[in-house]
C-alpha cells in the first residue's frame, strides 16, 4: 500500500511532469496573485516582442565581415504589417540588391513577429553558419518581412538557396524564439511545402550554434538532391528505411 500523498506532494509531482501551468492553486475561482501577475508579465513581454524593432545598427556592425544589404517589405508600418501578411511577403518597390553576390546562398534576416528574437539570436546563428559554408553568403536585413519575402530576394540574386532567419510568433514561455526556413532554388509564389524548417532557436531552446549546424547539414543535402521541403524529408526517410 502506498502512503496517501498530500495535496502539495501531488502538486510537486504534476509540476515535474509538464512545463504547463499546472498546480497553480486558487482562491475561490481566482488564480493566486503571484501566478496571475506572472502570466500577465509573460503576456506583456510577448506583446512587446511583436511590436519590437530590429536593431539594425548593432546587426550591421556585427555582420560587417560579409556582403550586406538592407530592404523593407511592401508593408509601410508595423500596424499594416500585422494586418496584411500579403504585404510582408513582398519587397518594397525601390529594393536594390546589386551589392550582393549572385548564384550563391543568401541569408535573409527578417523581424517576422519578434524582432527581439532576431536581436538576441540572429548574429550567433549567422556567424557560425558562415564558418560552415564553402563560400561566404550574402546577407539581407529585411524589415517587416514574412517568410516568403526570402523567395523574392532569392530570385533577385539568382540564389542557389535562401536561409530565412525570422522571429517566431511569441509564446508566453518564450518571446525571443527564432525560426529558420531553408528553400532550395527560391522563386516567388512557391508553396510552403517546398521549405524545410527549424524552430525554437534561442537560449533555452535549440542553441544558435546547433541550429547553424543543422542548417548547414540541410543545405548540403539539398545541394545533393537539388530539392527542398517535403520531398527532401521523404527522400531522407527512404534512405533511413534502406539502411534499416
Amino acid at each position: 500500500m502506498k502512503k496517501d500523498v498530500s495535496a502539495s506532494q501531488l502538486d510537486t509531482h504534476l509540476r515535474e511532469m509538464t512545463a504547463a501551468r499546472v498546480a497553480l492553486g486558487r482562491s475561490g475561482s481566482g488564480v493566486p496573485t503571484g501566478a496571475s501577475l506572472a502570466f500577465a508579465l509573460d503576456h506583456a513581454r510577448a506583446r512587446e516582442a511583436v511590436w519590437s524593432d530590429m536593431d539594425k545598427t548593432s546587426l550591421r556592425e556585427a555582420l560587417v565581415f560579409w556582403p550586406l544589404a538592407s530592404v523593407r517589405s511592401a508593408a509601410p508600418d508595423r500596424s499594416s504589417y500585422i494586418r496584411r501578411p500579403d504585404l510582408g511577403r513582398k519587397l518594397a518597390p525601390e529594393t536594390d540588391l546589386s551589392t550582393l553576390p549572385k548564384e550563391g546562398i543568401v541569408i535573409v534576416i527578417a523581424d517576422g513577429l519578434s524582432a527581439m528574437a532576431v536581436n538576441a539570436n540572429a548574429v550567433k546563428v549567422v556567424t557560425h553558419l558562415q564558418s560552415l559554408l564553402p563560400e561566404p553568403a550574402g546577407i539581407v536585413l529585411a524589415e517587416r518581412g514574412r517568410v516568403a519575402i526570402g523567395d523574392e530576394i532569392g530570385a533577385m540574386v539568382c540564389a542557389k538557396a535562401v536561409v530565412v532567419l525570422i522571429g517566431e510568433r511569441p509564446g508566453l514561455s518564450s518571446a525571443d524564439s527564432l525560426g529558420a526556413y531553408i528553400t532550395w532554388s527560391p522563386e516567388p509564389r512557391l508553396p510552403d511545402s517546398r521549405r524545410n524548417c527549424i524552430s525554437n532557436i534561442r537560449d533555452g531552446g535549440l542553441a544558435p550554434e546547433d541550429a547553424a549546424n543543422r542548417i548547414a547539414t540541410l543545405l548540403r543535402r539539398m545541394e545533393k538532391a537539388q530539392i527542398s521541403g517535403v520531398a527532401l524529408a521523404g527522400s531522407v526517410a527512404e534512405q533511413l528505411l534502406h539502411k534499416a
Binding site: 500500500m1 502506498k2 502512503k3 496517501d4 500523498v5 498530500s6 495535496a7 506532494q9 501531488l10 509531482h13 504534476l14 509540476r15 511532469m17 509538464t18 512545463a19 504547463a20 501551468r21 499546472v22 498546480a23 497553480l24 486558487r26 475561490g28 475561482s29 481566482g30 488564480v31 501566478a35 502570466f39 500577465a40 509573460d42 503576456h43 510577448a46 506583446r47 516582442a49 511583436v50 500585422i82 494586418r83 496584411r84 501578411p85 500579403d86 513577429l113 510568433r169 511569441p170 509564446g171 508566453l172 514561455s173
Partner: protein
C-alpha cells in the same frame, strides 16, 4: 434582383447578394484583407438597411456563393426543408430578426425551424443583430447531445479539458488532464491536439485517455484531435476511439485544404458509430471551425468570412455531432484584429451554430500578436455563459504550451459554476460530488479530494 438603399441623398448599390452580405458584416480585418469589406461605417449601414428589407425567400432563389460544383452548396440546398421554412417564408430579414427576439418564439418553435434555415440566412440575420440580440436568441436555442453524458441542458455549461503537450509526452498529457479534473473540467471531452501525426501516437494517446477515464470512472468521453484519416486507421486497428474529430470549413475547396470531403466524413462517422462505445447516446463526431479558415486557404470565393463560417455548420449538422466549436481567436489579427472583433465573432458563431441546430461551443482564445488579453476573454466568457454556450475549452493556467496561444483556465470553469451558476453535465456533476471535488451544493471543496494514491499510481503507469 437589385440590392440597394438610399442614405440621405446617396444611393448605395451592391452588385450581388454575396457583395451585400460582405458589406453588411460588422468590421473585421479578414474581410478587409480579402478586399470585400464596406468602405466605411456609412456604407456598412447602407448594406445593413438593404439587407433588413430583403425577403428571406431571396436566399433560396439564388446560388449565393456562385461556384459550380461545390458539394457544400449542393448539401445546403438539398437538405433545405420547405415545410419547416413555411412559418417565416413571408418575412423580410428585418422582420425575421424581430420574430426571433419575440417571447412568443419559443425554444420549441426554434427547434422546428432548424431544417428550414440555410447558413446564409442565419449569417445574414446575425449581421443586423447587436451582441445582446445574439445572446437573447441563442439562449432560447437548446441543442442536447449524448455519448457518455448529457451536454447542452438548460442552466448548464460543459468544458473540454485540453491537456496538450509539445511532444505528446504521455506523462505531460496526464499531468495537465489531472490538473483540470481536480478543478472539475472535462465533461464535454478530454481532448488532446496531437503535436505528432502518426497513427501509433494517436493510438497511444486515446489508449492513455481511455485508461484515465476508466481508472477514475469519469462519465465523459475522450478524443485525440488528429486527422480523420488517422482516426479511421486507428479504428481499423482496434483503438478505443470515443469521438472522431475533424476541422471543417464552408466550401469544398477549403475542405480539400483540410484533406476531407463529405464522403470521407461519412465513412468516418459510420466507423465511429460501428464501435458503439457511447453508453447513453450515439453522437460520435467532434468538429472545429473558425472564421477565416476558408480565406486562409484562398477558398472563400469572395464570400465574407462569417457567412463562410456559417456554411461549415451545414457540413457539421449532417453528422449529428456531440460537439462543435469555433476556435474564434486562434487564427490571428489578419482575420480578427482585436479583442472587440474576437468577442463579436464568438457571439456570432455561437448564435449561428445554435440557431442552425448545432451543439455549439467556443474556444475562447487569442494569440500574442492580436490586440487582446485575458480581460477580453473574461467578457466573452460571461456573454457566452448568458447565451447558454454548450461548452468552452480549458487548459492549465490558460496557457497552451503546444499550440502557443491562450484559452481559458480551469479556474474560469469554477467561476462559471460558482459566480454565474451554470452546472456541468448532470452525470459529471454527480461524479464531482462523489469524488469529493465539490460539496452537495456544487461548490468546490477547499482541498482537492481526488485520492492522492490513485492519481499517483496513474502518473506512474504512464511512464
Amino acid at each position: 434582383m437589385s440590392y440597394s438603399s438610399t442614405i440621405g441623398k446617396t444611393r448605395y448599390s451592391f452588385e450581388s447578394l454575396k457583395d451585400l452580405l460582405a458589406k453588411a458584416t460588422p468590421e473585421r480585418s479578414g474581410d478587409e484583407l480579402a478586399g470585400i469589406a464596406a468602405e466605411g461605417p456609412v456604407e456598412r449601414l447602407a448594406a445593413q438597411v438593404a439587407l433588413a428589407d430583403l425577403p428571406l425567400q431571396s436566399f433560396l432563389d439564388t446560388d449565393i456563393l456562385g461556384v459550380e460544383n461545390d458539394e457544400i452548396t449542393e448539401l445546403i440546398y438539398s437538405s433545405h426543408d420547405l415545410p419547416a421554412f413555411a412559418p417565416i417564408s413571408h418575412m423580410t430579414m428585418g422582420e425575421f430578426r424581430e420574430w426571433l427576439l419575440a417571447p412568443t418564439t419559443t425554444s420549441e418553435i426554434l427547434n422546428k425551424l432548424q431544417p428550414g434555415l440555410t447558413p446564409e440566412m442565419v449569417a445574414a440575420v446575425s449581421k443586423i443583430m447587436r451582441s445582446q440580440d445574439l445572446i437573447a436568441v441563442a439562449q432560447k436555442c437548446r441543442v442536447v447531445t449524448k455519448f457518455n453524458n448529457t451536454i447542452g441542458l438548460e442552466g448548464r455549461m460543459a468544458t473540454r479539458n485540453q491537456p496538450n503537450h509539445p511532444t505528446d509526452d504521455s506523462r505531460g498529457i496526464l499531468a495537465s488532464a489531472i490538473d483540470g479534473l481536480i478543478m472539475g473540467t472535462g465533461d464535454a471531452v478530454i481532448g488532446v491536439n496531437p503535436a505528432t501525426d502518426t497513427v501509433e501516437d494517436y493510438i497511444r494517446i486515446v489508449s492513455l485517455l481511455d485508461r484515465l477515464v476508466e481508472a477514475l470512472e469519469i462519465p465523459t468521453q475522450h478524443c485525440c484531435l488528429g486527422h480523420v484519416t488517422v482516426a479511421l486507421e486507428a479504428i481499423g486497428r482496434g483503438a478505443p476511439v470515443d469521438l472522431v474529430f475533424q476541422s471543417i470549413a464552408g466550401s469544398q475547396k477549403a475542405n480539400e485544404g483540410f484533406g476531407v470531403n463529405l464522403s470521407l466524413l461519412c465513412e468516418a462517422h459510420e466507423a465511429a458509430l460501428s464501435l458503439k462505445r457511447g453508453r447513453i447516446g450515439d453522437n460520435v463526431m467532434y468538429f472545429e471551425t473558425g472564421q477565416g479558415a476558408a480565406l486562409s486557404a484562398d477558398a472563400h470565393h469572395g464570400m465574407d468570412q462569417q457567412t463562410m463560417e456559417a456554411r461549415a455548420y451545414a457540413v457539421a449538422r449532417e453528422f449529428r455531432p456531440l460537439l462543435v466549436n469555433t476556435v474564434v481567436g486562434f487564427i490571428g489579427p489578419e482575420y480578427l484584429f482585436n479583442g472587440k472583433q474576437i468577442m463579436r465573432a464568438g457571439l456570432e458563431d455561437h448564435f449561428c451554430g445554435k440557431l442552425f441546430g448545432l451543439p455549439m461551443g467556443v474556444d475562447v482564445c487569442y494569440t500574442n500578436h492580436t490586440d487582446a488579453d485575458q480581460n477580453d476573454m473574461d467578457s466573452l466568457l460571461v456573454s457566452l455563459s448568458a447565451a447558454g454556450v454548450n461548452f468552452v475549452i480549458c487548459v492549465p493556467g490558460a496557457d497552451d504550451i503546444m499550440l502557443n496561444y491562450q484559452s481559458l483556465s480551469s479556474h474560469d470553469a469554477i467561476f462559471v459554476r460558482e459566480t454565474l451558476h451554470k452546472a456541468p453535465a448532470p452525470e459529471f456533476s454527480d461524479w464531482m460530488e462523489n469524488k469529493g471535488i465539490t460539496d452537495k451544493t456544487g461548490r468546490m471543496r477547499s482541498e482537492p479530494a481526488l485520492s492522492g494514491p490513485s492519481l499517483l499510481a496513474l502518473t506512474e503507469a504512464a511512464q
